[in-house]
Symmetry: D3
Subunit: 325 residues, 6 copies
């Protein structure tokens, strides 16, 4: 069994610093993955990690020195120190039309039913959501693009709901989309998607330009805990922060709580300086139910990968007290 | 039986004017539907007509004097003189979330299997493709939105292909989209859609900004005949013309022929002057196989409805001689 | 006495055409002022007319053949046939800083207290509202700019309200403003303005881009009747239509009724074709209380001046039945 | 001898209409060339005419029904009724790199030294000025692109000045350039160009967005008479009018007179309605010194070709009285 | 007495570093106020300080972690170490229409006549200038919005001039305004404003995009000393620097000197890295006439508050030698 | 003899750091020229260095504290420590029309035939390429602007090719050009330029927005080695990196190799933080044939000047292995 609700006693962790009362705190040795970890990498960020065989595996966004965006396979004993493949994942795929490479980025990974599903932003005449899977983090198969372009931030729920698959996603346009709400779509077979429903839109402040689902939602008795990024447009560009919301367990397009303040905004040099200044972008969590610990993997400045920590009960308390649904 | 390949001996018709060698010619009494045909209408255009019980029925885009966009039911004995309801279609629909009205426009109608399906540009947090049906042009039921926003120009094929429904469509953005290619999507049930494939993109000249499917494709032995609009951006705005292409019968994302020149561009006062100058936008055809006659209903200047005529063999010859796939 | 509520038995008039059920109808001999009425005029439109000494006088926007925008004095016996001065109004003004000419356009005129006040869009480091007056339509004095730039469509109420002057206006930017709500400002002395209040903003459809006050409001027992223009942005540019609202007599920032549909939109060649296609822009009315007749002067396509007619009770009935405040 | 200063007794002409006091007046049978004169033409406009062997020849911009822009050879007995070749000019050219076709448009033609030079807007990785020549309007040779992209409206002076060739031109960008001044460049050999000098920039009103040289300048004792177009940006797009200036005979970058008002702005249906509404764009004149007659060929609405007339002395008087250098 | 010309012996100060010949130098312990000084603050910057009862008080822009912009009350013994209230100022105000909160930011404070006036950028259907006052930095009363939207950087003169109040201000638009000049407006009563005059516009270089008044002007025998910010648009966004000008004592719209170079531009990490990179934005000064010392409070990167120092005679000498009025 | 192929034994150098396998490495003491090296400088970057009389001379872009852009003369014994003149170069020039200063920036210098030619981006009604020369780095003469505006990055080849001068250049527009390919132009006399040919355009990734020639090309037996910058547009602005290509010796518009990956992208604080974040922009190299050493001078963040090193054979090997012509 490998579900997201399993215990992960060896997950990365560092206690909240003394005197810090923030809901979320950064790892003191950030960034954990430098931009040039692999021979060809320009940057490694917005990456997805899961527990795998008592250790950790992941799919990593690596932009190479041509600034091509692709996703790579990686392994780690401790979730902090990573070996990432120099070469991108080669997808098993029988349809040559689908096989053409435009770009692949911002992966998410989840154990779902019987395998690890990977979703990512996949270029097919524009960005859309590619869906693939692996059983072993050795061979990866490409299923299909879930949606028409233009879409980004496709994030699967880690179990079927009422017999169907569900995927959060964010309709977009063909550029640096200056708008965007979170929707959820339903599927009987991971190929055909329908019953698209609006989940939540932009609000003021840090989430006033666009929002997008972050890591795979965490199931709690009260609802699905969703970390999501929000974007504010300053006169000098986009600022990506992230916050949290709680979605209904059975009807995941219904929002139970939505946190007013952000939980983490770009404030350190590795978040504020890099290929895209002022970005903190979460794509994966590790959650250990016995301890309530959550480790959040997030990209800094679209350049490096960083870690932040929190406790599930602290996030839930934050949501109850700061909800502005 | 009411399929698109049936004979329509009473369809509207006017012979090609003497001396005219164009593939398509305009009806001399255009526009057939004035902007103020109904009490509340600001404009009636981009509308869909089908043969119905030996006469004609249709779904009409009527913008009212608030400039709200909605679709109305209409009837005609001869396909030229129409009675259109003052009030928009009320859709039977059990999901209040879907029932909220943003806008509805640019309908297409086709007989498919056992009923008349209607597709249109439906506002649900942005434009997407609404799917509904009627058996009798009295009661209309709303099924679902086929896709996530943002999408326009959803056009069903008039029969299942290899057991599946297929719909042409044009991913868009949330404004006056300055880009757009034609895709096709496949569905087992009219609710869930997948296997999205790119059909064709923009080319130079009249179709250099964006393109979109027009009327329901006409089945011919050689392939699906598709009239489609193309848009050129002049320094004074968009110009909508239309041309034709032929798609593979079994794999409708494969283009067999694609006409280089347009077939009709806005050149008359009712196409060049109105709420949106320089628009000729086709949404429906009537086709009579015995005679080869095709009548094309198209909107003029986003204000009125006009008719043009051609013969299927003439269009096929044009495509063979002018294809620039 | 010369107030707007006086009888004007000789005002221009033409009965509603048989079979026409619109609230407002056009004069059959439109446009009444051609673009080249004066020797130097490129266009004459968006102009203001008042009854004057049993006849009619007005201030007219004339763009000359350099396409400079200025305002000219004019006279008419019947309100239809006009003599307009070749040269623009020369303003008496003692402050050379204010005297520099950038542009002057879109005047309104009203009898107020003891003189005819003229307001217009006056260039002073950008468009703002110039305020001047005349006693005799011979000499014109410039008082001051009421507001900082950027502002347009400054329209005085025709009497003091609770001892103060009030002016409707529309904050703007320094270009072809793609936004704009109607505000009202209050003044003790026509020089200093404050207590700025928001009156109404954009809505969907014909008034979705921006709105602006049109003619001087007409006092009725139920409120101030305001004709105002609204702008829709099509993919080929702005469309200017006009509708009506009723404002509170004592607190004119409170909207009692606001008509959902437009009353007149550009549909004739002289409204749809010209220097700015698709513009119908009202700047003045004549109102005859005994008969209820209202004549509306409006610009067509930013090129010519046209007339439309209605009855006050018909507009009031329209507002009661179609209000979407 | 074929210079521009020769007599052309058979040039097209129509007297100034009675009561008309404009400097320039339109031909009463405009447009002289309809959009569909040739089998494949979508539009014929912005075209260049010269006297040739006692009759007339010209190079014509014909956009075909793909909306490709190319230039065609044409002949006329009277300068009004034209035969234009269905196929575009084939250019003799030995450099395959230069031979690739992107687009060709807006030609000018002048007799210069020993042959007819043709300049046009030539696509070579963007619009620039192509230079070619013909001796006989049968064979046409392509010399070179005079400038780097992006440039438009390259217009040669009809004789060498102080031993050098001179060409007016308008640096641009790669789209619907919203800026543009007139420059002049000098060349010893028609291949290499330098000593680029600024001639004149935009001013207010009708020429506030960009300007560009029109027909080949006409030599007068006082200077080179230049008709040039100017563009105003309304909220509904560009408006192209034209006016006149007088340039120094020896130092043609020095402006002697520059007319404040336009001479002709789009005011007729064939100038205001078409593929690009509101365009009057002159590319050629015929000038008969004995009579002082000038015929101006100009494009209407980027769709048709029209004629206007004037007398040289009238234009000179206009310039002297209305100069705003 | 509490006027700005009083002595402030305990004002913050640090001598010019050895070897530094700049007119203005930064405090070595910058930033003095970190972004997270209060529990809820995301950032504290663009804030206004005045001497108060022998110590210091101020109004501070604090953006909270929702990125809402509001202004807070603060106190300090030394002008460097501050206590700022967690909660924003609650304004006493009897008009509910005015009480709605959109945003409040960039305050200025001045002792004027009998109280401390506060002006700030106040959201009322867009940004405008809110005017309020306090006697004691305990209770704060809201008077009115001085102007219609859209306006920013409203800065009062610290005494009446010829019996009237005067306020510098900067008309803007409803977004990240890419233009903007400084104007001055006059008022008899702090409610109604008029006689708006243009003070100065943009120039090249660091002040080429827009400018805006900074701290309350300092009265000197030669004129009003105004520090003001200027903005340059690089290909990667806005850069905010600041410089100085001297305005006429009696006619404050007349510029006596205007410094060509900036006095301080963003060059340190706390000015170049943060929520808005490359911003140095002054909102307040302390001035001690006996010593000539000036302390300038300015925001860094829209994130933190910093201090810089100079001597009045040094600024005056700079202006005399570098004026480019 | 002073050609670029001479030996420069005293050129700046630092060996590749141990463990570093990059083709190019940074100087450990970067930046070598701080922003405030001269009394009036805001920044010194994008500068050109040549060997001169056994030492080094150069022309430096210095933006002053008005943010005016100009070029200054400088000298150095070691190529690392520089003395730069406070005042900009005064150009000897007899044509007052050319002498007006708009801006001068981004110089390149090369020994060519008999003197040092300087090319730079020169403001003449927009940016174009100024050409001047010096024999002694004391007196500088201005020849002419090579091209019409708008152009940037004009870079001469360091010897005649087949008897002609050749200059790389990049047609642009009048703002922060979001496009741009490299062209080459030919001249007999450094005044008149023609035979303009396209060299290479944008590609994906780091060079997807625009490209421009960097230092003067280095002649190698296989071709001209060109370092060039490329620009990527992130959602937070432009990112300037640089790579390399090899051009044909005789036909320098033909590309032999073009490196896929960048060689250096902005990754250090002095490249990522400054007046324009994320810029690494090379304008000069020193090359020592005996050792194969190349030193590259490049601007960091449009603020400071930095050095990087490589070996010619390493760059050639990189090109052979990574060419994506």
């Amino acid at each position: 069994m490998n579900s997201t609700s399993s215990s992960i006693p060896n997950m990365p962790w560092e206690d909240r610093p003394a005197g810090n009362s923030d809901v979320i705190w950064r790892y003191s040795a950030n960034p954990i993955i430098p931009r040039n970890l692999t021979k060809t990498s320009n940057s490694i960020f917005n990456s997805a990690v899961v527990p795998f065989k008592g250790k950790f595996a992941g799919v990593f966004r690596c932009d190479n020195k041509k600034r091509e965006m692709n996703i790579h396979n990686g392994k780690s004993d401790d979730g902090i120190h990573w070996h990432i493949e120099d070469d991108p994942i080669e997808w098993i795929n029988n349809d040559p039309e689908l096989g053409k490479f435009e770009h692949r980025y911002d992966p998410r990974v989840t154990w779902l039913e019987d395998r690890y599903y990977v979703t990512w932003c996949n270029g097919y005449h524009g960005p859309t959501i590619g869906v693939g899977y692996t059983y072993d983090f050795e061979k990866f198969s490409f299923l299909e693009n879930a949606f028409l372009p233009f879409n980004r931030n496709g994030v699967l729920f880690p179990r079927k709901i009422n017999g169907s698959f569900y995927m959060l996603n964010r309709p977009s346009d063909n550029g640096h989309t200056p708008f965007g709400d979170i929707f959820v779509s339903e599927s009987p077979d991971m190929i055909h998607w329908g019953h698209h429903r609006h989940v939540m839109g932009t609000k003021g402040g840090w989430q006033s330009t666009k929002i997008g689902a972050g890591p795979v939602p965490i199931e709690t008795p009260e609802g699905w805990l969703l970390f999501y990024h929000g974007v504010l447009t300053s006169c000098n560009g986009f600022v990506y922060s992230f916050g949290a919301a709680l979605l209904d367990l059975e009807q995941p397009w219904k929002v139970i709580y939505r946190g007013g303040p952000y939980l983490l905004s770009p404030q350190t040099l590795y978040e504020c300086v890099g290929d895209v200044p002022n970005v903190a972008f979460p794509c994966a969590t590790l959650y250990d139910p016995p301890s309530g610990r959550i480790a959040i993997y997030y990209g800094g400045a679209d350049t490096v990968t960083a870690l932040a920590f929190t406790y599930l009960p602290d996030v839930m308390a934050f949501l109850r007290e700061n909800s502005e649904k």
